[in-house]
């Protein structure tokens, strides 16, 4: 566990850089984390981040399939918003834990 400065605030993160205190999240923090991933956040991004934070707050699990049914984007658009490994990237920027695919 360590601290990292984003948008002038000291934020608690784990070894992989995921925020450990979801309540420290703000839109500015999100922008700063996104910048590290070379992403500039648009309204669509924020709508997705909000959806992700809501689901996690309700204790629901995040899946690619679920994202496709979010009503905000389809899976292809989600990949365009957060290229590479989209669910990992999006959760990191949304300040929630990395989805653990339990097996």
């Amino acid at each position: 566990m360590s601290q990292k400065e984003y948008a002038g605030v000291s934020i608690a993160v784990n070894d992989e850089g995921y925020m450990t205190e979801s309540s420290q999240w703000t839109e500015d923090v999100a922008k700063a984390i996104a910048a590290e991933e070379k992403l500039e956040l648009t309204e669509k991004h924020f709508a997705m981040l909000k959806y992700i934070r809501d689901r996690v707050a309700k204790g629901e699990s995040l899946t690619i399939r679920g994202i496709g049914k979010s009503g905000i984007v389809d899976i292809k658009e989600f990949y365009q918003l957060f290229p590479g490994a989209p669910l990992k990237k999006a959760t990191k920027i949304a300040g929630v834990p990395k989805p653990s695919s339990c097996i």
Partner: protein
């Protein structure tokens, strides 16, 4: 005289059969009537499907009549289940539009493959150059195909999480490596595992061992891959970012879903799995419904071993519910999986919700110890003995010499 009460079990697969056996012993015969429903009369030993494509098992080795395993004193109905009406404590059957009323219900309708969920998967090449080994039909068709296959790109693709027996695709890759090596054609077969996981497995220590085995056996892995569609003409799969992987033979683990009956009952999540309390095993929204086996959405492996461990917990908690006491048993997500690695060798992982698979030794009175996260001949026998244990101990609801709660004995942190 007391009024008869009714327990209904839906699904007579691994978990349902086991529960029927356990509960017939537990519940007073004069007081409780037990009914179990399934649509098919044959019991399939699903872990055996893995070995069929390589000619190690034949169809006859993995099937037995369901009736051999269901105890006397349990009503058995062979019918499709139309749906559960939880608010009215009843189940509707397709056969003769029968209605079953229940005081308590156990749902054990499992999970099944749904290739139609992926565009082009169940298309022109289905069972021609594209196969699954999660069904008896697919496994047998693939065995025939491999008999005369000349080699090329063998792509093993996992569509979506969760899927039954998470190590099975890896085992398939290991067995394929051994099979084609023994046939003297390994140099003509390029094996690639394409998976939505970030690596060979999800947890660090097991991933390390399994990745080094893949490397040793010259099996490629493409992680973080979510398949979007199959192009049957070009023989390629694509993900959502249009990353393509070409194949000559595609072995798929299609999307795994709970039965459509769950959706018809309005009780499932996106994949028809039933929201279930991971510790008590009771359906989240229904007081008198419990869920066991692959049908539940609990965050552990979908595996027969898990159903076995959960069975003891469910029995205890069902008794609590019947007697109106608070629940006394809590499931820890215990899973115990032998992994065959080819050529008569195997490894073993033992873990639960909170503890990842660790190295060490696994004590098993009378048979073990087995090596945890080690490749040994003994672990291969463990997997082969599992079939015997499955038919004779697990389905019959007898105690296995492994406790339902995971133990740290022998494990090294």
């Amino acid at each position: 005289m007391k009024q008869t009460k009714r327990l209904v079990i839906l699904g007579a697969g691994t978990a349902g059969t086991m529960m029927a056996n356990k509960l017939r012993k537990e519940l007073d015969r004069d007081e409780w009537e037990i009914t179990i429903v399934d649509q098919v009369k044959t019991h399939y030993y699903q872990p055996g499907f893995l070995f069929i494509p390589f000619g190690i098992y034949k169809k006859e080795d993995v099937i037995k009549p369901k009736s051999d395993f269901l105890p006397i004193g349990v009503n058995v109905i062979f019918s499709e289940i139309d749906k559960i009406v939880p608010d009215e404590n009843k189940v509707l059957l397709t056969e003769g539009s029968r209605v079953l009323k229940y005081d308590f219900l156990i749902v054990a309708t499992g999970a099944k493959t749904a290739p139609e969920e992926t565009e082009g998967l169940a298309g022109e090449l289905w069972y021609k150059d594209i196969f699954d080994f999660y069904t008896i039909v697919g496994a047998v068709a693939l065995a025939d195909y491999f008999k005369t296959w000349k080699g090329g790109k063998l792509v093993i693709n996992v569509t979506e999480i969760p899927y039954k027996c998470p190590v099975a695709p890896l085992e398939f890759a290991f067995l394929a490596d051994a099979f084609f090596t023994n046939r003297g054609m390994r140099d003509k077969v390029d094996i690639t595992l394409v998976t939505p996981l970030s690596g060979a497995f999800t947890k660090p220590k097991a991933t390390k061992l399994l990745s080094s085995l893949l490397e040793e056996k010259n099996i490629n892995i493409i992680p973080d891959y979510n398949i979007a569609r199959v192009d049957n003409k070009e023989k390629k799969i694509y993900d959502y970012a249009d990353q393509e992987v070409a194949f000559d033979c595609l072995v798929t683990v299609p999307t795994n879903m709970g039965d459509a009956m769950v959706a018809r009952s309005g009780m499932g999540d996106d994949l028809n799995f039933i929201p279930t309390d991971k510790h008590t095993l009771r359906a989240e929204n229904h007081e008198n419904i419990f869920v066991i086996g692959d049908a539940a959405n609990i965050p552990t492996s979908k595996a027969g071993s898990v159903a076995h461990f959960a069975g003891e917990i469910l029995t205890e908690n069902l008794m609590c519910a019947i007697e109106g006491r608070p629940f006394t048993a809590s499931f820890d997500g215990h899973a115990n999986c032998y992994i065959v690695t080819g050529n008569g060798m195997g490894t073993l992982i033992d873990f639960n919700y909170d503890t990842e698979p660790l190295p060490g030794t696994f004590p098993l009175p009378g048979v073990g110890p087995f090596g945890l996260l080690k490749v040994t001949r003994m672990n291969h026998y463990g997997k082969m003995i599992f079939r015997w244990m499955y038919w004779h101990i697990l389905l019959k609801g007898k105690e296995m010499p492994i406790s339902s709660q995971m133990s740290m004995a022998g494990k090294k942190l």
